[in-house]
């Protein structure tokens, strides 16, 4: 093989109290897709940030094309030909889609930015990844998944030697992933070195040529994809075997639901979702399936009162519930974990402990604090149960790795013991082990009588955990599937039934 384009040698990165990376070696060759694998908190994102000059390593060196580099910031890395999509979509929501794609390299005429050319160029780049949104719309008006695609569009817009993708597919559907992979392959064949991070093993095996596995900030090893089977990979990542998935397949009580807990009658909101009927029973897991922009998040937000409905009503236990806002929902025993963990979930500057008890505390009111002892017990219990790392209650939530943040959010709602738990993409960016754990947890909660509304971009997962799947298309409920024989193929068929479900509907 040729010389590596990126050669990281013995790099170590430390944060106060955390050794995030220790003597990590990593090589990236031109014309290959190299997957960086590891559990949540293994240090993948940190390695990427060390490479692109966001974090300064305490030891080790980075060679780019054979030359030693020490970037002072992402700008320099970009100039040197490293184009990056960071894990927490780093875009400016106040700007338009076009601007976000071309910021810093806008087409100019006579020194002035040429707005028309910029929109045209952006539209072209968006089309290239199969996303048809209006380049003039502000990014804030789009859901996380679209933002993720915009970030990808931005990254592939430049002629880079190295393309770094940190969990670019965490909220994407199969179609978008396919589109992305098509582009990645083209780039790879042109000789670009691609660093790819994902917790979806299928995707990794589909696209990657080689893999490096990290565990607890250290390199476990480097393999070609062909060398390492899935089970060995998982074992390398976790340092142990994984067995929960099989158990889940045989959930004994699947489909054994109780009384209706929540009934939505003709609930709807203009421009968000058409009026729909929905019944969720105790002990039942209802999955929402649909394409990007089909209205799943919208539906969930209406049930929680995060947005106000224009039409219809919600009954809980047969009693009409006035959903004036999240608080009313919480009082009725409904909890909602948002898909946008950075914007709508985590309170980044507060500690893990505070984040964990926030919802519980909010429900009790300020005058009745959660006793310190109880808080500590809860924190200890859930940190252990969800394996949140570092298991330090005083760490700042914003400093956790992406997957651990997601687990923390889930824990926040679990401590409130809701009757209906609405989970919007709860497994986004979560590693294989933890994902299985969460799925199992959902099954257990349902067995205990909790109702769960489960949204995920990963169809298999929805089908696996749900008793019943509600299919959305074009911001409208189109079907409900239930039964023991519920299969992925049935759902896919429904989702893609008419051409009306094409992604372009997202941009209307």
């Amino acid at each position: 093989m040729t010389e590596p384009v990126v050669d990281i040698r013995g790099i170590s990165v430390e944060f106060p109290g955390v050794k995030a990376l220790q003597e990590v070696d990593f090589r990236l060759f031109p014309g290959e897709v190299h997957a960086l694998m590891g559990e949540n908190g293994a240090g993948k994102s940190t390695l990427i940030k060390a490479l692109t000059g966001v974090h300064r390593p305490v030891a080790g060196e980075v060679l780019l094309g054979g030359e030693r580099v020490a970037f002072a910031g992402p700008a320099q890395a970009q100039d040197a030909g490293i184009s990056t999509v960071y894990q927490e979509v780093a875009l400016c929501a106040n700007l338009t889609v076009a601007e976000n794609i071309l910021l810093g390299r806008e087409p100019r005429r006579f020194g002035a930015i040429n707005g028309r050319a910029m929109r045209a160029r952006a539209a072209e780049l968006l089309a290239r990844i199969g996303l048809r949104v209006d380049p003039r719309s502000t990014l804030a008006s789009h859901p996380i998944a679209i933002r993720q695609l915009v970030a990808i569009a931005r990254a592939v817009a430049i002629d880079a030697r190295v393309l770094v993708l940190d969990e670019p597919t965490s909220s994407l559907d199969a179609d978008e992933v396919a589109e992305l992979f098509r582009i990645v392959r083209v780039l790879r064949d042109e000789g670009v070195a691609v660093l790819f991070v994902s917790h979806f093993l299928d995707q990794v095996y589909e696209i990657a040529d080689r893999m490096t596995v990290l565990r607890n900030g250290r390199v476990v090893g480097e393999w070609t994809t062909a060398e390492l089977g899935r089970l060995e990979l998982v074992q390398a990542m976790l340092g142990r075997e994984l067995g929960v998935l099989d158990e889940l397949e045989h959930r004994p009580d699947k489909g054994r639901a109780g009384e209706p807990l929540l009934v939505a009658e003709q609930l709807g909101r203009k421009g968000a979702i058409a009026p729909f009927d929905l019944t969720i029973r105790r002990g039942e897991v209802v999955g929402l399936a649909g394409l990007l922009g089909s209205g799943r998040t919208e539906l969930a937000r209406l049930l929680y009162g995060a947005d106000k409905a224009d039409t219809g009503r919600v009954l809980v236990d047969g009693e009409p519930l006035k959903l004036r806002g999240p608080r009313a929902a919480i009082e009725a025993g409904i909890a909602f974990s948002s898909e946008d963990r950075k914007g709508e979930g985590l309170v980044a500057d507060l500690s893990v402990r505070d984040n964990l008890i926030l919802a519980m505390q909010a429900a009790r009111g300020w005058a009745r604090p959660v006793p310190r002892k109880q808080a500590d017990e809860l924190v200890a219990k859930y940190l252990k149960m969800l394996d949140i790392r570092p298991a330090d209650p005083d760490a700042l939530a914003g400093n956790l790795s992406g997957g651990n943040q997601q687990k923390l959010l889930l824990a926040r709602w679990l401590v409130t013991r809701p009757r209906l738990l609405v989970l919007d993409e709860p497994t986004r960016g979560i590693d294989v082990g933890a994902k299985a754990q969460i799925q199992k947890l959902v099954a257990e909660l349902a067995a205990d009588g909790m109702a769960v509304l489960f949204i995920s971009a990963e169809l298999e997962e929805v089908v696996r955990v749900s008793d019943r799947v509600v299919v959305l298309r074009d911001r409208r409920v189109v079907a409900e599937l239930s039964g023991v024989d519920l299969g992925v193929d049935d759902v896919v068929e429904l989702i893609a039934a008419t051409p009306g479900a094409e992604p372009e509907k997202v941009a209307s």
Partner: protein, 324 residues
Amino acid sequence: MSRRLLWPVLALVALLLVNVFVTPSFLSLRMQDGHLFGSLVDILRNGAPTLLIALGMTLVIATRGIDLSVGAVAAIAGAVTCTHIAAGGDPFSGMAIALALCALMGLWNGFLVSVVGVQPIIATLVLMTAGRGIAMLITEGQIITVDNPAYRQIGAGFLVLPIAILISVAALVGVALVTRRTALGLLIESVGVNPEASRLAGVRSRTIIWTVYVFVALCSGVAGLMISSNVSAADANNAGLWIEMDAILAVVIGGTSLAGGRYSLTGTLLGALIIQTLTTTVYTIGVPPEVTLVFKAVVVLAVCLLQAPALSRALAPRRKVVLP
């Protein structure tokens, strides 16, 4: 004490040392008529109103807000009480009326911010302007002088130490206890760091925002009483003029970010003391009035530079550099 507060403490000590150097008797205290007498006591007493307002301001800033109307509210409190006393009223009922009025002002600010959704700086600018007019309306533009021994106590009285500083410190301790023993502090910070996430977590942000604006208005009211009682007169035009800047500065020197979130009450205490010590220093060491402002600028800049994370990193024994 956290590392972050180390530099403000050092700055305060440095300022005091400068004074001692120029006036060796600066730190000396003596008992006189049953109370302590000395420059340090003056600093505490004169700093008490700023400290009190800064205390309320800390909570407002923690919710991502700001309150520019504190000076005007302080002026109103003094004006109402003095007018009441001058008209033959009893000082206590006068103060009660004044504080009730201040609470109303706080409710108003809170209403504009949390219900109407006006940006705090503009919402409170309304009352900053109109409030001073109201204070002058009450006093008809005159300085209302009162001679009431009971009223004098709150601003100029002593229980060994100045009553004003006892009130402010009691308020500080009270707030520290209430916010840390209850969940108020947590909820305030959470609203300040991420309002949307807090809303979705079920935090009553509206009530919380309302509470802090009422609280800062009450603080300003009491501070206004101190200011006017200290000179036994209500000066609607000048009482509390620019005190909002001092209060905000105290909060910021104390390490609380104007972007909301984490706050430090100890920091605010230090900030308020630094500001007052600086003012007293100017008088004591005889800085000519023409260069007073330049002197203040240099000190303020020095304090915040020393505190700056970038600089303390550079000064600290070599540690790794972490960019946020």
